[in-house]
């Protein structure tokens, strides 16, 4: 087992979950109405719980004594491995919904396959996560339909969101030596094999929602190597501020 590669891979999973959860939790108290405020917050909670399990395991694999809190609150931008799509600002409700739909469809494919990982801990996390992904995807699919096939305003906002987000989806399926190593060891499912399944899930919903898949296929990428967008610094400043201001404090 290649420990550095496993650490990198687990960090990618954990960082995706934490940064996605962090953006979703920004809606807490700002949802369009109470049930949706709660719905988005519940999804964020599932994601942050998943991140806790993954980052704790990543720290153990790394073997340098870093726990989930140290990984979450003391790493600088270049050490983060989340895909760029997760760190984009929350935008309006249409943007958050379309982004979450695209990610939920991806996570459902990923965690369903990850249950068969040769790594027992990742398989265990995936067993828990896969069930929650079904609820998340059902929720966001319904909302994509409502917004896309809704009023002119909701449709326009949803389409603008899809146009902005589509280039960021390529990164979810890209490969590199870490990914290849993990696939070779049977730890990670093949990203290439997931893309067509993901499209198969996503396209019918977008079509029913009368949304056009953009033609711009220029891939926005770099997150897996720690090269983040201009938004990541602000997100980390907000998320990490308290721990950085009072290092080592607990409450």
């Amino acid at each position: 087992m290649n420990r550095p590669a496993l650490f990198e891979y687990t960090l990618r999973l954990g960082d995706d979950a934490l940064i996605n959860g962090q953006r979703l939790s920004e809606w807490c108290g700002h949802g369009p109405f109470l049930e949706e405020d709660i719905g988005v917050a519940n999804t964020a909670l599932d994601l942050i719980g998943r991140a806790r399990l993954l980052l704790t395991y990543a720290g153990e694999v790394e073997g340098k004594g870093r726990d989930e809190d140290q990984l979450a609150f003391t790493r600088d931008e270049r050490e983060w491995r989340n895909a760029l799509i997760t760190e984009l600002p929350r935008g309006d409700f249409g943007f958050t919904t379309v982004r979450q739909f695209l990610l939920d469809a991806f996570n459902q494919q990923l965690y369903d396959r990850l249950r068969l990982s040769t790594d027992a801990t990742l398989a265990g996390v995936a067993g828990r996560a896969a069930k929650e992904c079904d609820y998340h995807l059902r929720h966001t699919s319904e909302w994509v339909l409502r917004l896309g096939d809704g009023t002119k305003e909701s449709h326009d906002r949803a389409q603008r969101a899809l146009d902005a987000l589509w280039p960021y989806t390529a990164e979810l399926f890209e490969s590199d030596p870490v990914q290849e190593q993990m696939e070779a060891e049977g730890v990670a499912p093949s990203t290439a094999s997931m893309q067509s399944a993901w499209l198969h899930t996503v396209e019918p919903v977008l079509r029913a929602a009368e949304l056009q898949i953009p033609e711009n296929t220029w891939p926005q990428t770099g997150g897996r190597q720690g090269m983040h967008s201009e938004h990541m610094g602000f997100l980390l400043a907000e998320m990490q501020f308290v721990q950085r201001a009072y290092p080592g404090q607990t409450w």
Binding site: D46, L53, E132
Partner: protein, 153 residues
Amino acid sequence: MPDIERARDIVSRVKDPEIPVLTIADLGVLRDVAVEGRRLVVTITPTYSGCPAMKAMEDDIQSVLHAAGFHNVEVRTQLSPAWTTDWMEDRAKRKLEAYGIAPPRLVGSRGPIHCPQCRSTNTERISEFGSTACKALYRCVDCREPFDYFKCI
């Protein structure tokens, strides 16, 4: 040597902090109580990934065992097999219903959700996400009362 039966009895009575009519044994969260050397090991399985009640249950397990004289205790989290509401026994489901929460169906089954107040099947879902991650919000069209449904997963 720790008295394992006494420990198991004590731990089985630890309640879910959000739904105090249910114990961790009722929920299927408590998986095992065993002895390893001189240490008592209590194994639990989390319900939802982000369930905040899990930490409270873990703390409660530690404190009731300490109060009963067990001082070498480890609470271990086991992820596999993943928790499912199918592990909840019928007795627990009846307690939930009496408390006012509609109990989970068996995974994969269909059928109406009964109103815990008036037993009517004329109910509708208001939101997939209720007061906690594990519950959905429903309304009874007949008696007009809202109620939580413990989601099956």
